[in-house]
Symmetry: C3
Subunit: 364 residues, 3 copies
């Protein structure tokens, strides 16, 4: 408990934990205050995500590299997964897909962009491990191809019906999970030396002991699930009140909230001239969402959703994911960075955010 408090003192994000009880209280007392609940649940998810991420790393550090890496990788996007699962259960497929596409775009452009920009403000030029970055960009490219094919084919060949799209989505999900497993084997076992610097995580921070870490994992996951439930229930009406389209909320708001903890790590690493780690977190997180979270959601939708979900995204989401992936490939190709590289990534992100913000709600 002492360590937990120390952690809270150390990490200012965790003061936001105060919002967790507040959101539950407001939900009891004023269940109709959707916009307030939306804002409070956003504020409450951020510190929970940070704790989840810290606890995961503590467990990972104890269990040895192979199991630890697996845990770290599968639990790293737990917040996004829990939010998406809650939305999946409610049958809100547009929100689920928006949050998947948004996480890919936000991690690739915003998280990486701010990292390179902040790093570039401090250092004239920075270098990072090209090989590892290229592998991550390659994985992301692979996943993006899998996500865009159902939409491209359904768009292009209008005869292909819903049954085809559903069957294809199922098959692709299995393929992607196999690719994900093989990528783990590659990066954690056969060629771990290529990914060395990016995998180390926040060394130097005080880690939780095993018992506390596991208890935190369990407890916080339950809390995240409960807050996510409030979030998903309030988001639609709050979006309407605020004049935001579900696409904008899923793409931008949910994506930034869900990745808040990882962003804090990535930005801090960039300021310490450890760009390998920033690039690893940003692209690794994006490719994990694409290779593991998205297909897992499709498979789980057969069990927990009112009807099975497919992998067909709406066209502008496909265009954005594809451009984000290409941008990542172009940027990471040289292995060097300066502040303007960050600006370029952020500009592409701003173009997307502006488009989604202005898009008439019905479309999204």
């Amino acid at each position: 408990m002492n360590l937990l408090l120390k952690q809270i003192q150390h990490n200012k994000l965790l003061w936001l934990l105060a919002f967790v009880p507040v959101v539950f209280a407001v939900e009891k007392l004023q269940p109709e205050a959707h916009t307030l609940l939306f804002a409070l649940s956003v504020l409450a998810i951020v510190p929970l995500a940070a704790m989840l991420s810290h606890a995961t790393e503590s467990v990972a550090a104890k269990t040895g590299d192979a199991v630890g890496g697996l845990l770290n990788a599968t639990l790293g996007n737990l917040t996004e997964l829990v939010i998406a699962l809650t939305a999946l259960r409610a049958g809100q497929f547009v929100l689920v897909k928006a949050s998947v596409a948004g996480a890919i775009v936000t991690n690739t452009l915003f998280m990486l962009g701010v990292s390179l920009f902040l790093g570039g403000l401090k250092y004239h030029e920075q270098e990072f491990n090209r090989i590892s970055a290229r592998m991550q960009a390659g994985l992301l490219f692979l996943a993006t191809v899998a996500l865009l094919i159902p939409s491209a084919v359904a768009e292009a060949d209008s005869v292909a019906g819903a049954a085809f799209t559903q069957k294809l989505s199922l098959g692709l999900s299995v393929l992607l999970i196999v690719a994900y497993a093989l990528s783990m084997l590659f990066s954690l076992r056969t060629h771990r030396e290529l990914f060395a610097s990016a995998a180390h995580g926040e060394a130097g921070e005080s880690l939780f002991p095993m018992g506390l870490a596991l208890a935190t994992l369990a407890g916080v996951t339950v809390l995240v699930a409960m807050v996510s439930h409030i979030f998903v229930e309030s988001v639609q009406q709050a979006a309407e009140t605020l004049g935001l389209s579900p696409a904008f909320v899923g793409f931008i708001v949910v994506a930034i909230v869900g990745a808040a903890a990882e962003m804090a790590s990535a930005f801090a690493a960039a300021r310490k001239n450890r760009l390998d780690m920033s690039v690893g977190i940003a692209l690794g997180s994006a490719s994990q969402i694409a290779l593991f979270v998205a297909p897992a959601l499709v498979l789980l939708s057969y069990v927990i959703a009112p009807s099975p979900m497919n992998l067909q995204f709406w066209p502008s989401a496909v265009v954005m994911m594809f451009i984000a992936t290409m941008t990542a490939a172009l940027v990471t190709n040289s292995g060097r960075s300066a502040w303007f590289v960050g600006v370029m990534l952020l500009m592409v992100y701003a173009i997307f955010a502006m488009t989604l913000y202005m898009l008439p709600p019905r479309v999204a």
Copy 2:
């Protein structure tokens, strides 16, 4: 004759030659056994393609680099060309286009992917000549742009009619053949040193003497033409019986069958850590199909087909060719490989194959 037998003993693929008489016999006795004829003709084409490729190299080795290179390059995809010509004559344009697009995608993703995977299983990391690989990927990119423009414009500007597409296809075909001729001049004459390692071919194998080689070329071409005739005639009905779409058959089955001999060479080279050669065969073959075979088929269609063929592919084929080209460009950019790079290429190929397999037949 002795050498021919020795060659058969050396290369186990050639035992399949036994299927050549079988397919003719079955065609005489049971002309309606389409599925059987389809399977037998596939089995018979593979060893014939291997012989054709060996004879071509023997001739090329004798005639000096310039003529030899020209021969090697123009005859290298002879099997694909003969199959496509047979389909062209029958007016089966969907099959022709599917086999062209399929050869590009299969060579780029499957042949290269298996090569890198097999090589990577044996060697921890492999390197290859980036400059030559980039040039090949650039040629492939150029050809893909030419193949996608008619479809993109016809898709986008619906006013552009069939006459426009036909005229444009003719013009593009001439452009592509000029580009092909210039690329030969570049790689065989002015900058041959850049392509040195990839061009050597299966050095070390016993080559045919000139007379035998020419006789083999002539005789085997006739045999391939005859078996291809049976193949093209049976494929449509066999596909229906087996529940395969013509697109899947053209894209996957024909492409793999037609390239079987080259694949054997590419895989063997990768296992010997001669990735330059594997990359050269895979991408060189793909760009040759795109730059020479496809436009030659358009030009020939004016002479031998019931009506002229254009270069307008159906949209998902365009998307697949474009993604295959981009994947090749990304992968070859670094000049290094490990087993997972092969897996990524194969995964993209599996995504395409799965999509085509599931696509309702009418669409393709």
Copy 3:
């Protein structure tokens, strides 16, 4: 005046200045001779563009790097800007957009392609500064994303109406101009050393003294505006007479005419083995059109055009801009060139030019 005459003797393009009075005379005497006026105005714009470019450099050389760079960059595409403004005022939005898209495609593919080809004819292999070229290609990529998003979204989500497209275009224009300003800060102030070799311009040529340079700037701008007026008025009818679509005229003719002076510099630099400069002029000019001229035209359209202009290009223009940008990114990635690299760029350009030439006029 002496210097001006010397300049005319030095630069053979300037003999074409004789066409300036001719075009005014013909316009007075035969205002209906559209095809003749079109041809004459093309011939008259070329030398004026060369003078404008030389005067701009002279001013830039005197005012110190920061202001000079700003001037050089903002006035560098003055000809294109004046032509586009004249068309904008006349409400000819198709011509304006075609000239913007055409300038991007022509500078990226034609100007760069001819430079690399001519340089390659003289030198077996040439190298250029990868870092600077990549930055330019990155800027161009950013701008292309901004230009393709409105069209992509409007294409994809048909609900998005004209009001959305207009609002989005306005927002994107502001974003692009901010990006342009930041890119200037980056290349002229914080990281000028990366761009050093490309920025120097035609060192060695005799520059105008300040007074003459400013007078030339003012006077020639007025002349360009007047000739552009004749050009824009005659181009539509001349195109009809010559059977050319407005898209072809805007994309190819206007783009080549407007960039004639820069092309002369880029080609000469390539022949002197100064590829850094050729690449800098070609890609820098393209990204400037995309990042500054295009958004400035949108903003100005609110003031001077009959109705506001948006950034929605027709689909084949978007495809072409995107492919041109990708081609530039692929080609500049290696930092090496040989004659065939130039041929590949020119082939892609020829594919586009042929497509536009054949496209039925109504579509464009």
